[in-house]
């Protein structure tokens, strides 16, 4: 899946978890979930569950720990999607 498409989906997924509307509008690969979007760190696990459901993937604990920015998250999703495609 194209990285831009993944980012578009991510934007919709994280939307209910943030009140930083302007930062959300400007969401890019550089966006940090905690620093920029001020998402409650406890909600990161909920966001990962939503991502799993949306993309039909399963994220392991080590990958989950990396998913603090849009860039890292896109990489994990893209990798899992291509991994699945190869199976």
């Amino acid at each position: 899946m194209d990285r831009l498409l993944i980012i578009g989906e991510l934007k919709a997924i994280v939307s209910p978890y943030t009140e930083e509307r302007s930062k959300l509008e400007e969401l890019s690969e550089d966006t940090d979930f905690l620093k920029d979007l001020k998402i409650n760190s406890a909600n990161l696990v909920d966001i990962v569950l939503d991502i799993e459901e949306k993309f039909g993937i399963e994220v392991d604990n080590d990958s989950m720990a990396k998913m603090l920015t849009v860039r890292a998250t896109v990489e994990v999703v893209a990798q899992k999607l291509s991994g699945d495609a190869g199976q």
Partner: protein
């Protein structure tokens, strides 16, 4: 030593089977409106009792009290009811949530429950048993910890004084108000949001159905099912909801020119220790009488000053015993017994929420100058009629300006709580 503070009630909130919000609820209790309905979920699961009292909350109220994200994952009816009632009581008292930067150190909450988020807990257990513990996400603990309701309320309002959840079965709500009264009385807070909540549904009510303490004789006529003090009382109707009251030092209430509903002048909580006639499920009458008598003497009034009683009166065989206990505790005869009523005819037994919902109804009666009608006891239990003149058990709305109301709740575990409310007079 600093003199004890006088404590008054300045806010009410309620989420009851026969009315959510103080206006709807006041209208319902004055008109004797039942909130008991047929419950298809109980029928589908083969319950003996297939009627219940569940509050209804409008979408608009939910949107005011909970964010979209919260609503998406909220599977605790008790937390919903508790937050809705608490936020109504707080804003009705003319109070605002604390600002973003700092909590309100002078305000806290004692908000009780029997158990929290039983539907969320059930879902979580199913996930775990399917080896999917990771799917629990971040919201299971907050909704299933017993203190979930007080934590949610404190977060909404920014409460910075003591925040905790008490639990004493069906005495929970009355006990929470007693705790708040004592907390403010001794200067530990200026304001406390006191109340209690109870989840809805088969997983909370099933144990009572199995004990055969719920009625199964009125599945076809739900509004007749809950019959406190009736000759044909055959068990309680399970209910749910929440009641919330803002208790405040008189000094604080006067300083901000708040509306004062009434004064709390005393109360007592005790246990029968499951000794004598007391057991896990039956009250020790000595403890009940002692609880009432101590509440009255601690309030600094004479027993004959109690004019209205809001009883526990669940619609079981124990109703007559409760009346006998009140009579002895207050030293009253058949003719001069106070007016007495039970809200449960209209709401069913809202378990851990019953005490606080009934305290809201009690405060409304005292401040509004009325005694709400008892419903479903036109066929008064003859044992009760022998104890108390039937005129003392009004079946119609009674306009009555009165000074003192006693409210008691009794719970499994042989625990009791009693409160004395008085019309407010400054000086």
């Amino acid at each position: 030593m600093k003199a004890a503070n006088r404590v008054v009630i300045t806010g009410l909130g309620v989420c009851a089977p026969n009315g959510t919000g103080v206006e709807d609820f006041a209208r319902a209790i004055k008109s004797g409106t039942s909130g008991i309905r047929f419950d298809p979920a109980l029928q589908a699961l083969g319950f003996s009792c297939q009627v219940s009292g569940r509050p209804e909350i409008s979408r608009q109220t939910m949107d005011v009290c909970f964010s979209e994200l919260e609503q998406r994952v909220l599977a605790s009816t008790g937390i919903q009811y508790g937050v809705v009632a608490a936020m109504e009581a707080w804003s009705g008292a003319g109070l605002l949530p604390a600002g973003e930067s700092q909590p309100d150190w002078d305000s806290g909450t004692f908000f009780g429950t029997g158990t929290s988020g039983i539907d969320k807990f059930r879902w979580a257990i199913q996930q775990i048993d399917q080896q999917q513990v990771r799917k629990l996400g971040s919201t299971v603990v907050g909704q299933t910890m017993a203190s979930g309701v007080s934590a949610y309320i404190a977060g909404k309002l920014g409460l910075g004084n003591q925040v905790t959840t008490n639990s004493s079965a069906c005495a929970t709500g009355t006990e929470s108000i007693l705790m708040a009264y004592e907390h403010i009385r001794w200067g530990k807070a200026k304001r406390m949001l006191a109340g209690s909540t109870s989840d809805s549904g088969p997983y909370i009510w099933g144990g009572f159905d199995a004990m055969k303490v719920c009625t199964y004789k009125h599945n076809d006529s739900p509004q007749d099912a809950s019959r406190p003090m009736s000759a044909t009382a055959s068990g309680f109707v399970p209910g749910s909801g929440a009641g919330a009251l803002v208790l405040e030092s008189l000094e604080s209430a006067v300083s901000r020119n708040a509306r004062i509903y009434c004064e709390v002048i005393g109360g007592h909580a005790n246990s029968g220790g499951q000794r004598g006639l007391g057991t896990m499920t039956a009250p020790n009458p000595e403890a009940v009488k002692r609880c009432i008598a101590q509440a009255v003497s601690g309030a600094g009034i004479r027993p004959e000053q109690v004019e209205v009683i809001n009883g526990h009166l669940t619609a079981t065989a124990k109703d007559a015993l409760e009346i006998a206990n009140w009579k002895q505790a207050l030293g009253r005869g058949r003719e001069d017994f106070p007016y007495i009523n039970s809200l449960k005819g209209m709401t069913g037994h809202c378990i851990s929420a019953s005490g606080s919902i009934e305290c809201v109804a009690s405060v409304m009666q005292l401040s509004g100058g009325f005694v709400f009608p008892n419903i479903n006891c036109q066929d008064l239990n003859p044992e009760i009629a022998a104890l108390v003149d039937p005129s003392r058990i009004p079946g119609k709305l009674l306009a009555l300006d009165f000074e003192v109301l006693a409210k008691a709740s009794f719970g499994f575990g042989d625990v009791n709580a009693c409160l004395i409310f008085k019309r407010f007079k400054n000086g």
